[in-house]
Symmetry: C2
Subunit: 218 residues, 2 copies
């Protein structure tokens, strides 16, 4: 009885996103959509997170890129199951792309799935994938004005990661101005300043993530 109503409410992408969510839930796979500018450190962040997770938690990755499989190769070199999506010019992942990737992953053997979106601070904000969490990564060299200039991708985030804080002393970046921008568009969102290079801040992020994973299927 509900299906016709849902089709009225949700567009085609959102309908597939719901199917993705249901598939992930039925396999008890917790999933995280990682969004950021090109070069903010999405792949490094996924790998740095995986290093700090309990070994019992099995991780899989979906890699979204306009072209190339460089990141997927990096992920695969760590022995993680990974599926590459090349959008061929497309500026974001959408739910059908993720659905096709899920169908190629051993979901029964995975507890936590990272979906690395195309490097883009605009378009990924408008396409639900069916993941459990949206994480937006900003990075110090990009500058402190990003939440003001790209508000939507900060507004939809369940967590915001501020990467490359090791570069903070070298770059003109006002952390309080950045925080204020985040608060304006997303008042309650947790902010994790980290450095994938030095490891700073990653423990706190991983602790928070593990609580979310635990809460999801308990």
């Amino acid at each position: 009885m509900k299906v016709p109503l849902m089709k009225e409410i949700f567009g085609a992408n959102d309908q597939v996103a719901l199917e993705n969510k249901a598939l992930l839930d039925s396999n008890k796979v917790f999933s995280v959509n990682i969004m950021a500018s090109p070069g903010a450190g999405k792949t490094s962040f996924i790998l740095a997170t995986v290093e700090r997770l309990p070994k019992s938690l099995k991780v899989g990755v979906v890699e979204g890129d306009v072209a190339s499989s460089l990141d997927a190769q990096t992920i695969a070199a760590r022995g993680l199951p990974v599926v590459q999506i090349n959008t061929g010019g497309g500026c974001h992942l959408d739910a059908p792309m993720v659905q096709s990737a899920l169908n190629r992953l051993p979901l029964g053997e995975i507890n936590l799935l990272f979906v690395e979106n195309v490097g883009n601070l605009v378009c990924p904000a408008y396409f639900s994938l069916g993941t459990h969490l949206n994480v937006t990564i900003a990075s110090i060299p990009e500058g402190h004005d990003k939440p003001y200039k790209y508000p939507d991708i900060f507004a939809i985030a369940d967590a915001i990661v501020l990467n490359k804080i090791d570069l903070l002393p070298l770059v003109d970046f006002d952390l309080e101005y950045f925080r204020r921008g985040v608060s304006m568009v997303n008042p309650e969102v947790p902010l994790f300043p980290i450095s994938c290079k030095t490891g700073e801040g990653l423990e706190e992020w991983v602790r928070w993530l593990l609580l979310k994973v635990k809460d999801a299927f308990s």
Copy 2:
């Protein structure tokens, strides 16, 4: 006689791009479309370039942003005529947006126009604006793999600028790998490694730009 044929060949955006080009040419305004990731330093690059131009060359700016007028304010503070375009979620400028901006600029008093596109390494590659040059800016902290992962925006560039080279000693960035990636998608394009912070490399870029400006209307 030509118009119907052109309408067959070009889509609506490209048709308006041609009109923009004609309007700019008739006013002898040389124009540069600046494309880059968020935070690569587009506004700083425009300002650093303007500082090094002969005073006789009058500059105007069109600022494209998803939201806010922060960059336009920065430009206006330097006393330059500037028009802000807010795309309201749109991930790139298009020719009609630029057309409306041109109509609000004192084109008769401008010799050189910078059009700062929305921060995005994907979508701006697919929309001609009618400018004379496309310049793509990459930056050191984004990493050396960008030409491989976002080939189209490097392929359409008439010049590539590599900003923030002052951070080269601090970041894992293989300049030769980057150069190779650029050569693969755009063999003849000039590459200008620069730092807006230290000024390094900017003279060479400005010299090249001034030759282009001179050639255009002589």
